[in-house]
């Protein structure tokens, strides 16, 4: 490996590690790394479920005589995952990195830059695919009668698994950026990316519901067998579509001829050829596809009339701050999509199954008595709180300011007013979105009355305000103000996770209180919730604005 490539890889690794550490810890101290075991623990249930499914798949497939189908499935799944996420990772790393303007003038070949960035992405991909692929390989290794080569071959196959799909993603990105002008419209690219993400999520949701029959139930193995027998051609189709999964299977399967070395050689050779292609194409396509930032915008002289009209009124500081929040959110697609998508997706995921269950819907429509009068509005209020808790608007309110925070901090406007403007913005956004959803759902269920609407409007405003104050606390305590990519202010912000946990605990407490009220006297439920939200909003306003008054002075940005 040449000296330049090594230097590049070293700097990329350092950059990625520090970013990861600061993202996790919210600063340079590294204390946040203590949260790492907790994050790993959070994945344990999902990995356990996957492992059980793999075991069922192996047992069923081995009874039919092709237990190695498990290897084909996990390798193919890993490669499809890499291919799906790869395009966005590659475009982000190749074209939107801030360091390209520093690297390109240096005496470094474009292919060396591409290769170093590619290896950086590879490390990230390992973390993405490991929870899906490793349990499958481990299950097969333990269950099947494999040779001694299994462990080294399996490690090599795992390490090289993302190479081919990532190279395909990279080549697609290189060509795309060379022949289109998308680089200048990175916002459009992100919106399109998010929409593709939504489409994929819904598609996988639908597929998931079809596969549900063998992932649950007492007789898993039998169900998997039925499933496999019904889809005999699936394995063949997968191996035809993704030949590397066939070679990996051949290299690892029990009783493979000559220790599966021909499969391994083909797998290694393909990966090497793929890397060679990347080097060649990057040399040719990378420099030409590079673009500068900037979103075009209009460019024309401001007329005296426009100046007179636009400066003709004076707004209160609170209104000016609110307008600024609205404009910045609406004009930053990364922020808007991150705030809007969960709010749109969550109700879809929650209420779409009802479409397939007309009996359940009919049952809900027949609700009467105290359930209809008090239970439904309380449940709708809870849903509104839940929907508004996923928008991430409040939990990133300070972080989104980023390097522009000096503006607010140098202005003669108190942190209290700044926080209130942010809460107001969060309330407007979340109330509007959750009201639209809940009113729509209640209309569809034929449960909406004017009184319920009015109650949801008032109690929802107070509840969402209380939730917004609460979710803002972690971000006030430890904002992430050093981002250059807006994604890091929202998706990559640990405060989102922390405030979601706080909000879940808060809503859990509310459920307990609601149940106690219900058991005491159902008529108490709605007025009590209104009172609780009113008091909480008042109390949290005092506490959180006081916290901001103290913490805003401590930020050293």
């Amino acid at each position: 490996m040449n000296r330049r490539l090594l230097a590049l890889m070293r700097i990329q690794a350092l950059e990625n590690w520090r970013h990861f550490r600061e993202r996790l810890g919210g600063g340079r101290s590294g204390w946040g790394l203590l949260l790492l075991p907790l994050l790993v623990l959070a994945f344990v249930p999902a990995i356990a479920m996957l492992t059980v499914s793999y075991m069922a798949l192996y047992l069923a497939a081995s009874m039919l005589g092709f237990g190695e189908l498990l290897i084909t499935v996990v390798v193919a799944a890993g490669q499809i995952l890499c291919l799906m996420f790869g395009v966005f990772y590659v475009i982000s790393a190749f074209y939107f990195s801030k360091d390209l303007s520093i690297l390109l003038p240096l005496p470094i070949r474009p292919s060396e830059i591409a290769l170093s960035k590619f290896l950086g992405i590879l490390v990230g991909e390992y973390m993405t695919i490991a929870p899906v692929v490793v349990p499958g390989l481990v299950v097969y290794g333990l269950a099947a009668d494999v040779s001694w080569t299994y462990v080294p071959f399996a490690v090599m196959i795992f390490l090289l698994l993302p190479v081919v799909p990532l190279v395909l993603s990279a080549l697609f990105s290189l060509v795309l950026m060379r022949v289109t002008n998308l680089g200048r419209r990175r916002d459009v690219l992100r919106v399109v990316g998010s929409l593709i993400g939504v489409a994929l999520a819904i598609l996988f949701g639908q597929l998931g519901s079809r596969f549900e029959s063998f992932s649950v139930g007492p007789d898993q193995v039998g169900q998997v067998q039925q499933f496999l027998q019904a889809r005999q051609g699936m394995a063949a189709a997968v191996t035809q579509l993704i030949p590397t999964s066939r070679w990996a299977t051949e290299a690892l399967r029990a009783g493979a001829p000559a220790l599966g070395s021909w499969g391994m050689l083909l797998y290694l050779g393909t990966s090497a050829v793929a890397l060679g292609l990347l080097v060649g194409f990057a040399e040719w396509l990378l420099p030409g596809g590079l673009t500068t930032a900037g979103d075009g915008g209009r460019s024309r002289r401001l007329t005296a009339e426009e100046l007179r009209r636009d400066t003709g009124k004076i707004r209160s500081p609170l209104w000016a701050l609110l307008l600024r929040e609205i404009r910045l959110l609406n004009r930053t697609p990364t922020f808007l999509m991150n705030a809007l998508l969960p709010v749109v997706l969550l109700p879809l995921v929650m209420f779409l199954p009802l479409l397939q269950e007309p009996e359940a819907l009919a049952l809900v429509r027949q609700v009467s008595g105290p359930w209809a009068s008090y239970g439904i509005p309380a449940a709708a209020l809870g849903m509104m709180l839940f929907i508004s808790s996923v928008s991430n608007l409040a939990s990133t309110a300070i972080s989104r300011e980023g390097r522009f925070f000096w503006i607010l901090r140098s202005l003669p406007v108190s942190p209290t007013l700044q926080i209130r403007a942010k809460v107001l913005h969060s309330v407007l956004f979340n109330l509007l979105s959750s009201m639209v959803v809940m009113v729509g759902v209640l209309l569809w269920m034929r449960l909406l009355t004017p009184l319920i609407f009015l109650y949801l409007l008032v109690a929802g405003t107070l509840g969402v305000a209380a939730g917004s104050y609460l979710m803002m606390v972690p971000d006030i305590l430890r904002p992430n103000l050093t981002w250059t990519d807006p994604q890091r202010a929202m998706k990559g912000n640990l405060n989102v996770l922390i405030s979601t946990i706080i909000m879940m605990a808060f809503m859990g407490l509310l459920v307990v209180v609601s149940l106690l009220l219900w058991w005491t006297d159902p008529r108490l439920l709605l007025p009590a919730l209104l009172l609780i939200f009113g008091l909480l909003t008042w109390g949290l306003d005092r506490a959180v604005t006081q916290l901001a008054e103290e913490k805003f002075l401590e930020y050293e940005a």
């Binding site: 900037g294 915008g297 100046l307 003709g312 004009r331 901090r409 401590e554």
Partner: protein, 240 residues
Amino acid sequence: MIELYQVSKSYVRGGRKAVDDLTLTVTPGEIFGFLGPNGAGKTTTIKMMAGLLRPDTGTIRINGFDMAREPLKAKAQLAYVPDSPEVYERLTGLEYLNFIGDIYGVAPADRQRRIQDLGERFELTHALADRISGYSHGMRQKLVLMAALLHDPPVWILDEPMVGLDPRSAYTLKELMVEHTRKGRTLFFSTHVLEVAERLCDRVAIIKNGRIIASGTLEELRHGQSGESLEEIFLELTEQ
């Protein structure tokens, strides 16, 4: 008037002080230049004066208002221009100026007059309807200057204000600085361009390792130094 009294600041508790026991006063009608090598503590001092950083010890007063006790009143007195013109890229220039005008409560007629006047002087009127993301570094610097001066504040605190400006705009800014102090107002600015400091400043201070190593008029600085120009004096003092 700007008063700093025994101001100290360190970024790491118990670590090296970025600003160490700094005391100085800038009187009305005075242009005060703040000079020093990179990392000497200029920007830290200015950020504390603008209320962006809290000093560990000491007092800062802007026109008599204590920045720690009455931050809003102190901030309302000043125009602050940072060393790097970071402004909301998703807004248009005019939207940004209107936001600043709303926060300071600048009346529509005054706002319109000031935007027109400053826009023409800095030759930025043509771009005010555009998103800031399309601005060059120099255009952003001009916009930050316009926003800072929009409410016609009595105290200006400018951190490297000439960086990125074209010669005509730099000349305009220097004119504005002189006009400002002729009205009996206060101006404090940092710069690495010693010729500008020599020509404009009534007094200068040189900071090194967080401490002021020299302060006064050019005549006073020359005392005891072999150099004649501010550049020679600066090099002599900062080498010691």
